[in-house]
Subunit: 512 residues, 2 copies
C-alpha cells in the first residue's frame, strides 16, 4: 500500500485555487495577538508553538503545510499553530480562545477533501499531531483506547501482532489520524464488513469549546444510560469540540482474503448478482465493488492491471469485484469457486465470465483494476468528482442522466467533457460519479452544479457519502438535509459552541 | 421460541409494587380534560381513543394493560390512551399536548423493564400499536423501512422469505415494537455479531414535542452531511420525541447454526478461551455466553436441559456456550470440531470438556442451559437482578465481591440471600448479576444498593447495559455518567422539549 502522501500526488490539482475569498467570516471573532501568544507560552513549551507573529516569528513557509489542504484547493492564512501534547493543554487553549473569541480549527492529518481542516481566514490551528499515544489495548475484547492524534496506520500496526485490525481502512491511512477519522465519520474500504464508526466507536474524550473535558471514553460495548452524546461528535468535523481520545472496537484479523472479478453483460444484472453473492458468501463477503465499462477501459488504458483478456471482456457493460475475508482460506476458496460455478452454469447467467485470483500477485492486480480508476481518471483529463449516496438500483441511471444532461448542453465532446463514468461501493450505496473534462471550464462546472445535487436530492440521496461538508459543500447542505434538520443542527451547535469559535464557516454554523 | 407474553410469566412479580408515590412530578403539567378529548376526537376516529373521562367513559379495566408495566412493578393512573394510525395524527396530538402542557408517554409493546413505558401520574399514553405498516423493503440492499409500531417478530417474519434477518433479537420479540427497540437501544442476542442499533439504524422519522416532523428516514448506508441527530433518539427512551418510522439494515440470514458447550476448570480460563475462539471462528462466531457454576447448577436443578454428564462437569467452575452462524454448515462444523480438538489436545487445556450439538434438538438443549437460568432463578427464590457492563476480566470479581459483601452483612444464609450468581454475554461485556433471596427484604435491598452501583462505577462500568434508565434508575444515573455529561443531556433535552412534556420523570430530565 502506498503511503497517503504518495497517493495524494496522484490527484490533479485544480488550477483555480479557491481562496475562500467570498467567505462570510464571523465579524465577532478575533485574530491571534501578542497577548495570546504570551498566554500560550504559559501552557506549551516553545517547541509546540509555531507563529509568524513576534516574538516567535516563524517563517511563513513553516506554516504552509498547515494552511494548505491536501488537494491544494483551499488555503488559509493562519499566523499560529499550536501542538498540545495533553488533553489538559487542549483544554487550557480552548478556554482561552473561547474567552478571547478566537476561531479554532482542529487539524488532524490534514487529509480531508472538503476544505474543513484548514482555516478560512486566520483562525488558530490546533494540530493534534503531538497527542499520539496509545492509552490502552485489551487483546481479549479488542478494545483500543488511543489519543486522537494517533495515525491510522500506526494503530493498524499496533494491533496487528494481537491478530486484530482497525475497523476502518482508507487510502490516506499513512497520514490521517483516528481523531480526524472520527470527526469526518470516515467510511473507507471496510465499512461493508464492519459498519460505520457510529457502531464501532465506543467512547470519546472531547474538549468542549469552553475548555470543559467531556469524558465519555468508556470501553463498554453496551451502555444504555442516557443520551448517547458522543455520537454527535462523530462526523461533526470539528465544529462542536476537539476530540482528544477515542475508544474503538477492533475486529479479529481475517486469516485469508480472496477475490474474483466478474464481467457482466448488463447493469441490470448487478443487483441480482449482489443478492446471490450476499446469500452465498454471507459472512465472508468483505467487498462488492462496481466499475462501469468506461471506468474499466480507462483503468486498462492507463496501465492499471490487465487481468482479463479481450475475449473475457467482450460484451461486458460493467464489472464487479468481489472480495472475501475469513478465518480459513480453503473454506473461502471453496465457497468462491462454488459461487462462480453456479453463476456460470445457470440457464440465464448473470455474468459473462469471472476470474478468480490464485495468488497474492493476482489478488493485487484484480484490486488494481478497481483502485486504479482514480489514477486513470486523473491521467485522462481533468476530473470533476462527486462522492454521493443513491439507491443501488439507480447507479447507472445517475451516470446516464448526467451524461445526457451534458450532451444536451452541447458539452459532451473531446474539447469539453470526454467521459462520464461511475464506480464505487455497491454494498454501501456509495457511487463515485466522475466527469472527465479536457480542462476545467466554468460552463462545465455550471452545468454540473447544482444539477447533480438536484438529481441526488430527487433520489433522497446524500451529496456527501463519505467526505463530509467542510467548507466546500456548506452551501449545498440543503440538498441532503431539510429545513427542520438544519434548524436542529444550529440549535445543537449553539448548545456546544455558543460563541461560534469552533471551525468557523464550516458545516452548518449559525453564522452563515 | 416462546412468545414474549409467555416468557413474561416466568418472571416473578415483586410483592411490593412501586407506585411512583414519591415521584417529584412537574407541577406545570396539566391533566387531560374534556376540552382535550373534544380536540382529539377531531384528529382520531372513536376507535382510536380510550378514556375513562366522559363522554367516552371507557372502563378503567380497559386502560389497565397500558397503565401497568410488564413486570407488574410500576403502575400509572392515566385516564387516556390514544392510538394514532399515521405520523400526521401523532404530530397533531403532540402539537396540542405541547400547547396545553400535557405530559405524554410514548408506549410501544410495553415490555420495557425499567418503568419507562407507563405514566408516573396521569400523563396521556400515546400507543404506537396502530402505526404498524411495513413501508418498504429492498431485498437487494436488505434495507427495511417500517412504522415504529411494527412488532419485532412480524418484521422478522416479513424479511425471512427474502433470506434476511433482523439485526436484533430478544425474548420480548413477540410483543416489543421496533420503535420501542430503537427508543431503548435494545441489545439482545445478536449484538455480538451485528453490532448495536447505533450502527444498524440508518434513518428515523420522529415527531418532535411541538408536532414538527423530523424526516431523517433515509435508506442510505453512508451520509456525511451534518450532525447525525437521529442518533440522539436511539436510547432516549421517548424523552425527546416520538419515533414514528425506522429505516434499518437487515443482514442476510445465516444458512446454518451450530453450538458447543465448554466446561472450564477456572474463570481465569474464560478470557484466553474467548481470544482463542475469536481467532479460530472469527466471522462465524455469533455468541459467546458465560454461565458460572451456581447458574449452571440452578438451571439443571430446575430442569433446564441436562446436556452434560456428572463426569463432564466435575471440577468445572464455569461454562461457556459458543454459537456459530454461517452460510455453509459443513464448513462451520469443521471449524468448530477443529477448535474443540485443539482445545482438548493442548498441553495446558483451557477446558475440561466440550459437548458439540449434533442435531437441532441438541442445539436447543444446549441453549436451554444458558437461557434457562432466568427461569431457574425465579423458581429458586426471589431474584434481585442487575444488568450491568463491566470489563470482561472482572465478571467473577464483581460476583464474588457482592457475595462477600452480603456475607459481611450477615445476609448470606438460607433465610436471606441463598445465591449470588453471574451469567451473561462475554462478547458484549454484559453481566447479569443475580442475587437470589428467600424473600424480598429491605435489608437486602439496602445492602445491594447503592453498593452494586458503586462497584460498577469503580470499574467505569454501566449500571444499565441494555435496559435503560426509565423511571427505575434515574436516581442512579450519576454512577455511570459524570456531571458534565448529565449537564449536556439536560441542555439537549431542553433543545427538543423545552416544556418537558415528553415522558416526564424518566431519564435525566431537568425537572428532577
Ligand atoms: C488519499 C485519500 C484517500 C481518502 N479515502 C477516504 C475514504 O476512503 N473514505 C473516507 O471517508 N474518506 C477518505 N478520505 C478523506 C477523509 O476525510 C480523511 O482522509 C480522514 O478521515 C481525515 O482525517 P485527518 O486526520 O486527515 O483529518 P483532517 O483532514 O485534519 O480534518 C478533517 C476534519 O476533521 C476535523 N478534525 C480533525 N481532527 C479532529 C479532532 N481531533 N477533533 C475534532 N475535529 C477534528 C477537522 O477540523 C476537519 O474538519 C481520503 C483522503 C485522501 C487524501
Ligand atoms: C422477556 C423480555 C426480554 C427482554 N430481553 C431484552 C434483551 O435481550 N435486550 C434488551 O436490550 N432488552 C430486553 N428487554 C427489554 C427491552 O427494553 C424491551 O423488550 C424492548 O426493547 C422495548 O420495546 P417496547 O416496544 O416494548 O417498548 P416499551 O416498553 O413500550 O417502551 C420502552 C421505552 O421506550 C419508549 N418508547 C416506546 N416506543 C417509542 C416510540 N415509538 N418513540 C419514542 N419512544 C418510545 C417508552 O416511552 C419507554 O420509555 C426484554 C424485555 C422482556 C419483557
Amino acid at each position: 500500500m502506498l503511503s497517503a502522501r504518495l497517493i495524494g500526488r496522484r490527484f490533479s490539482i485544480r488550477t483555480c485555487q479557491a481562496r475562500f475569498a467570498t467567505a462570510a467570516f464571523p465579524p465577532r471573532l478575533n485574530s491571534v495577538a501578542a497577548q495570546d501568544l504570551a498566554h500560550f507560552a504559559k501552557i506549551l513549551p516553545p517547541s509546540s508553538i509555531l507563529s509568524t507573529l513576534p516574538p516567535i516569528s516563524s517563517s511563513p513557509d513553516e506554516l504552509d503545510q498547515f494552511n494548505n489542504d491536501w488537494m491544494g484547493r483551499f488555503r488559509g492564512s493562519s499566523t499560529t499553530v499550536l501542538k498540545p501534547k495533553t488533553t489538559q493543554q487542549v483544554s487550557e487553549i480552548l478556554k482561552w480562545c473561547n474567552e478571547r473569541r478566537i476561531g479554532v480549527v482542529p487539524q488532524g492529518g490534514n487529509t480531508g477533501l472538503v476544505g474543513g481542516s484548514v482555516p478560512v481566514k486566520d483562525e488558530l490551528i490546533l494540530s493534534l499531531s503531538n497527542l499520539n499515544k496509545v492509552r490502552e489495548f485489551d487483546p481479549v475484547s479488542g478494545i483500543l483506547v488511543a489519543d486522537a492524534g494517533c495515525i491510522l496506520q500506526n494503530l493498524t500496526d499496533y494491533v496487528a501482532p494481537h491478530n486484530h485490525i482497525m475497523p476502518i481502512d482508507l487510502g490516506a491511512k499513512g497520514s490521517c489520524q483516528i481523531g480526524g477519522n472520527v470527526a469526518t465519520n470516515a467510511g473507507g474500504l471496510r465499512l461493508l464488513r464492519y459498519g460505520s464508526l457510529h457502531g464501532t466507536v465506543l467512547g470519546l474524550e472531547v474538549v468542549l469549546p469552553d475548555g470543559t473535558v467531556l469524558d465519555q471514553l468508556t470501553t463498554l460495548r453496551k451502555d444504555n444510560t442516557g443520551y448517547d452524546i458522543k455520537q454527535l461528535f462523530i462526523g461533526a468535523e470539528g465544529t462542536l469540540g476537539i476530540i482528544t481520545g477515542v475508544s474503538i472496537l477492533t475486529p479479529p484479523a481475517p486469516q485469508a482474503s480472496n477475490n474474483v472479478i466478474l464481467a457482466l453483460p448488463s447493469f441490470q444484472n448487478v443487483l441480482p448478482l449482489y443478492q446471490t453473492v450476499k446469500r452465498e458468501l454471507s459472512e465472508i463477503l468483505s467487498a462488492f465493488e462496481f466499475i462501469d465499462r468506461t471506468s474499466y477501459d480507462l483503468a486498462v488504458k492507463h496501465g492499471q492491471g490487465r487481468a482479463l483478456s479481450d475475449e473475457e471482456i467482450e460484451g461486458a457493460e460493467c464489472f464487479v469485484l468481489v472480495e472475501t475475508s475469513g478465518c480459513k482460506r480453503e473454506h473461502d476458496e471453496e465457497k468462491l469457486a462454488a459461487l462462480l460455478e453456479n453463476l456460470l452454469e445457470s440457464d440465464n447467467p448473470l455474468i459473462n465470465t469471472g476470474v478468480l485470483s490464485q495468488n497474492p500477485a493476482q489478488f493485487s492486480s484484480l484490486w488494481a483494476l478497481r483502485e486504479g480508476v482514480t489514477e486513470a481518471v486523473s491521467k485522462e483529463g481533468k476530473p470533476y468528482k462527486y462522492d454521493i449516496s443513491v439507491p443501488l438500483s439507480s447507479f447507472k441511471e445517475v451516470v446516464d442522466k448526467t451524461r445526457e444532461h451534458l450532451r444536451s448542453k452541447g458539452l459532451l465532446h473531446e474539447k469539453a467533457v470526454k467521459h462520464v463514468l461511475g464506480y464505487g461501493h455497491v454494498g454501501d450505496g456509495n457511487l463515485h460519479l466522475n466527469i472527465v473534462a479536457d480542462s476545467y471550464l466554468s460552463e462545465i462546472q455550471n452545468a454540473l452544479e447544482p444539477y447533480i445535487y438536484e438529481v441526488v436530492s430527487s433520489y433522497r440521496g446524500s451529496i456527501s457519502a463519505e467526505h463530509g461538508i467542510g467548507y466546500q459543500k456548506t452551501h449545498a447542505l440543503h440538498y441532503s438535509k431539510d429545513a427542520v434538520s438544519i434548524a436542529l443542527m444550529k440549535k445543537i451547535k449553539n448548545v456546544f459552541d455558543p460563541n461560534g469559535i469552533m471551525n468557523p464557516c464550516k458545516d452548518n454554523q449559525p453564522i452563515r
